[in-house]
C-alpha cells in the first residue's frame, strides 16, 4: 500500500466509522515510517470533516457522528506514543478541560462534545461527571488549558456553571480561560447572563464555537 492509498483509506474508514480499519491503518503508517502529522492532517482529518458535512446535510445522525469521532480517537491513541517517542508534539488546536458539574451525573451530552472536540484536533481532558467545581479550575491551571467546558442537564445543577465563572473572578483568573457551557436546560441567554464565552446547543455547534474562539 502506498502513502496516497493509506491516506485515502484513512478518510474512508473514518467516514464509515470502521474502528478496526482506522487503527490498522495507523499501525501501517507507523510501520512505513510516514510523517505522522501529515497522516493526521491529510488522512484522518479530511475524513472527520466529511463526517461533519454529512451531519450538516442531515445524512449522518448522532450514531454515525460519534462513532466516527471515536474512530478518530482510536487512531490518535495508536499514533500518540509514536509521536511522543519521536518527540514530536501532535498539533493541537487547544487544550480543553471538560466535565459535568457537581451534583449532576448525566454525561452523555458532555461525552458527545468531548468526542467531537477530540476528533477535531483539540486536546481533551475529560473529568467525567459530578465534578467538584474547584476541580475544573485546578485542572485547567495544572494543564495550562485554553478552555473550560461545563455541562449540566438539570436546572438545579446549571447554577454550578455560574459558580465556576464567579470562582474564576475571585481568583483573578477571569479571561484566562474561555468558558463554554452546554446541556439541555442551557441556552444562549443563560450563557450571556452568567458571562460564559460560548454555548453550543449540540456537539457540532460546540466544535464550531470552540474553533471560532481560537480564531479558526
Amino acid at each position: 500500500m502506498n502513502k496516497e492509498e493509506i491516506l485515502k483509506r484513512m478518510g474512508k474508514a473514518i467516514v464509515e466509522g470502521n474502528k478496526d480499519e482506522t487503527e490498522a491503518l495507523a499501525n501501517e503508517a507507523i510501520k512505513q515510517r510516514l510523517d505522522l502529522n501529515e497522516v493526521i492532517d491529510k488522512g484522518y482529518v479530511p475524513g472527520i470533516e466529511k463526517v461533519g458535512e454529512l451531519w450538516e446535510k442531515g445524512e449522518y445522525f448522532l450514531p454515525e457522528l460519534i462513532t466516527s469521532a471515536e474512530c478518530m480517537k482510536g487512531a490518535m491513541r495508536v499514533l500518540q506514543p509514536e509521536l511522543e517517542k519521536a518527540q514530536i508534539s501532535a498539533k493541537s488546536k487547544g487544550k480543553v478541560v471538560i466535565g459535568t458539574v457537581e451534583g449532576d451525573i448525566h454525561d452523555i451530552g458532555k461525552n458527545l462534545v468531548a468526542s467531537m472536540l477530540a476528533a477535531n484536533g483539540f486536546q481533551v481532558i475529560d473529568l467525567g461527571a459530578d465534578v467538584k467545581l474547584e476541580k475544573f479550575i485546578e485542572k485547567a491551571e495544572a494543564e495550562n488549558a485554553d478552555f473550560i467546558c461545563l455541562s449540566a442537564l438539570l436546572t438545579t445543577t446549571m447554577l454550578g456553571q455560574k459558580k465556576v465563572i464567579e470562582m474564576l473572578k475571585e481568583k483573578n483568573l477571569a479571561g484566562r480561560y474561555k468558558v463554554l457551557v452546554g446541556g439541555a436546560p442551557v441556552n444562549q441567554q443563560w450563557a450571556d447572563d452568567i458571562g460564559a464565552n460560548g454555548y453550543g446547543e449540540n456537539a457540532m455547534v460546540a466544535v464550531r464555537i470552540t474553533k471560532k474562539l481560537i480564531g479558526e
Binding site: F61, L62, E64, N187, E201, N202
Partner: protein
C-alpha cells in the same frame, strides 16, 4: 425470534357483531331499501326479490345478501399508473389517501378559505404524488373554474396527469362514468387491461337512511361491469339520518353497505367492492357533522371490524379535522383519527388534508398529515424482536462509562426502529428561535414550496396525454362547454 404482533383496536365482541348483522339483515328483508334505478330494480326482480316498483323499494333476503357476500372478493389489487406497483386492499393492509371532494382550499397566507381553481388541484395532485405516506391520490378538490357539469371527469383528468398513484374518485352524474372510464382505460392501454389492473376506486354514497339514488346505483353497476372497485360510503348522522346510538347507526350502516354490495354482485358476480363509509356523530347543539368527534371515529372503527368479520376490504373517512385553520385541533383530530384507523386495520383511509366537515383542503395540512400517517404506520409495525438475544449481550462487561451511541447495534437498528419527521419540531428552544419561531403551519408552507420546486411532476407520455385531452374535450363539448382552463405548471 418471537413473532411481531400487529397492534389492534377492536370495539365489538363477536356476539355484538353478529347481533348487528342480524338486525341489518332483518331490516333489508322486512323493511327493504329504496333503489331509484330501473336497471337495478330489474336485476333485483330477476334475482327473485320482492320489488315495489311504484315506491322503488326492494326487499333483500338474507340468502341473497349472504350469497353476494360470498361472491365478493376479500382482497382487491390496485395498480399505479405504470401498472407495476401493486397495492393490496384487504387483510390488515393500510393505505392513506387525501380526503376527497373539497370545494374550498385554505389559503395559508391569509388563513381564509377560498374557492379552489385548477391550479390548486394541480398543486394538490403533485403534492400528493410526492408525499411518501399517501399510497393513493384522490380527486380531492372541485375546481371552480370549470362548469359543475364536468367537474367529476375534470378532477380525474388532472389527477391522472399529475400523479402516478392509484386514484380514489367518483361520479357526480350518470354520464360522468363513460369519459372517466375512457380516461382510465387510455392510461392503462385498454378496458381489458384496466379490469385486470384497476387504477381507480369509485366512491358511491347511499343517502341515509337506506336509499340508493339513481346516480350512485348506476355508478355501482357501471363499475362492477368494468372491474372498477366501488367503495360504499354510508354516512349516517347519529340522531338525524341514522339512529342516535352508535350501535344503532352501525345496524343501518351494515344494512346500507350490504344492499350496495348486493347491487354490485347482481351487476357482476365477483365485482370488487369495499365496505366503507363516512358516518358522523351529529352535533345536536350546532347541527353539524364533526368528522373529528371521537364517536365518529368509534363508529368508523367498529364498522371496519364488522367489515373484516364479513371478510371484505374496508374503508373509512378518518384522519381529518373540522378545524378551519391549521391549529392544535387540526392536528389532534387528524392524529387521533389516523392512529385509530391504522390500529383498526382500515384498508383505505381517506381524510388527510381535509378540514371543516369535509369541505376544505389545505396543502399545508396535507404535509403535516403525511407525518401523522408516518407515525400511524410506524405504530402498526409493532415492536419486533430484532436480535437473539434481545439485548443482554450488549451489557457484557458494562462499566459506568458505557453508552450506546457508538455501538454497532445502535447504528444497525436506529433508522429502522425510529422515524425522523421532516417538519415536526424537535429542535432546542434556541435553535427554534434562530429559525424564526415558526409554527408547524409555517414550516409546512415552506415544505409545500420546497416539494413542488424540487420534484418535477410525473407526467404522462405525450400520446396518452393527447388521448386524455380528446376524451376531456369531447365530454366538455357534449356538455356545451367550449374551453377548459389552461394549465400552468
Amino acid at each position: 425470534m418471537i413473532k411481531t404482533i400487529r397492534p389492534k383496536l377492536e370495539f365489538l365482541s363477536k356476539e355484538f357483531i353478529q347481533k348487528i348483522i342480524e338486525e341489518a339483515h332483518e331490516i333489508l328483508e322486512k323493511q327493504g331499501v329504496f333503489v331509484e334505478n330501473e336497471e337495478a330494480l330489474k336485476l333485483f326482480k330477476e334475482a327473485g326479490m320482492r320489488v315495489d316498483e311504484q315506491a322503488q323499494r326492494v326487499y333483500i333476503t338474507q340468502q341473497l345478501a349472504e350469497d353476494s357476500l360470498s361472491s365478493s372478493p376479500s382482497i382487491i389489487r390496485l395498480y399505479d399508473r405504470t401498472g407495476e406497483k401493486e397495492f393490496i386492499v384487504g387483510k390488515d393492509h393500510v393505505h392513506f389517501d387525501p380526503g376527497s371532494t373539497a370545494i374550498t382550499i385554505l389559503d395559508h397566507k391569509t388563513s381564509v378559505e377560498r374557492k379552489a381553481v385548477s391550479e390548486d388541484l394541480v398543486k394538490f395532485c403533485r403534492l400528493t404524488d410526492c408525499l411518501e405516506h399517501f399510497d393513493f391520490q384522490s380527486t380531492g378538490i372541485v375546481s371552480s373554474d370549470v362548469p359543475d357539469l364536468i367537474s367529476d371527469s375534470y378532477r380525474l383528468y388532472i389527477g391522472l396527469q399529475f400523479s402516478a398513484k392509484p386514484v380514489v374518485t367518483g361520479t357526480f352524474r350518470v354520464e360522468g362514468f363513460k369519459p372517466m372510464h375512457d380516461m382510465l382505460a387510455a392510461v392503462r392501454g385498454g378496458e381489458k387491461n384496466l379490469a385486470e389492473k384497476p387504477l381507480a376506486i369509485f366512491d358511491a354514497c347511499p343517502s341515509p337512511p337506506l336509499k340508493w339514488s339513481n346516480l350512485t346505483t348506476q355508478s355501482l353497476i357501471d363499475c362492477a361491469r368494468a372491474g372498477i372497485p366501488s367503495e360504499l360510503i354510508s354516512m349516517g348522522m347519529t340522531g338525524a339520518t341514522s339512529p342516535v346510538t352508535i350501535a344503532g347507526t352501525l345496524v343501518q350502516h351494515v344494512a346500507e353497505n350490504l344492499s350496495g354490495l348486493v347491487i354490485t354482485q347482481l351487476a357482476k358476480k365477483g365485482a370488487p367492492v369495499i365496505f366503507g363509509g363516512s358516518p358522523s356523530s351529529f352535533d345536536m347543539r350546532k347541527g353539524t357533522t364533526p368528522m373529528g368527534a371521537i364517536e365518529t371515529m368509534m363508529i368508523d372503527s367498529a364498522y371496519t371490524q364488522i367489515g373484516k368479520y364479513l371478510n371484505l376490504p374496508t374503508h373509512a373517512y378518518m384522519g381529518l379535522s373540522d378545524s378551519k385553520i391549521n391549529d392544535s385541533q387540526a392536528g389532534l383530530e387528524t392524529g387521533i383519527g389516523a392512529v385509530m384507523a391504522a390500529l383498526s386495520g382500515v384498508n383505505v383511509i381517506s381524510g388527510p388534508g381535509m378540514m371543516n366537515f369535509e369541505s376544505c383542503q389545505s396543502l399545508e395540512k396535507l404535509v403535516v398529515d403525511n407525518e401523522i400517517c408516518s407515525m400511524a404506520c410506524r405504530a402498526i409495525e409493532g415492536i419486533s424482536q430484532r436480535d437473539e438475544p434481545i439485548a443482554k449481550n450488549l451489557f457484557e462487561g458494562f462499566t459506568q462509562e458505557t453508552q450506546f451511541l457508538t455501538m454497532p447495534h445502535t447504528r444497525k437498528w436506529y433508522r429502522e426502529e425510529h422515524t425522523f419527521p421532516a417538519i415536526i419540531d424537535r429542535d432546542t428552544y434556541d435553535y427554534w428561535v434562530s429559525l424564526g419561531k415558526k409554527s408547524i403551519a409555517d414550516r409546512a408552507s415552506e415544505e409545500v414550496e420546497r416539494l413542488l420546486k424540487e420534484n418535477p411532476p410525473s407526467l404522462l407520455d405525450d400520446d396518452i396525454l393527447q388521448e386524455l385531452r380528446k376524451i376531456m374535450d369531447s365530454d366538455a363539448k357534449a356538455c356545451g362547454i367550449s374551453s377548459l382552463p389552461e394549465i400552468k405548471l
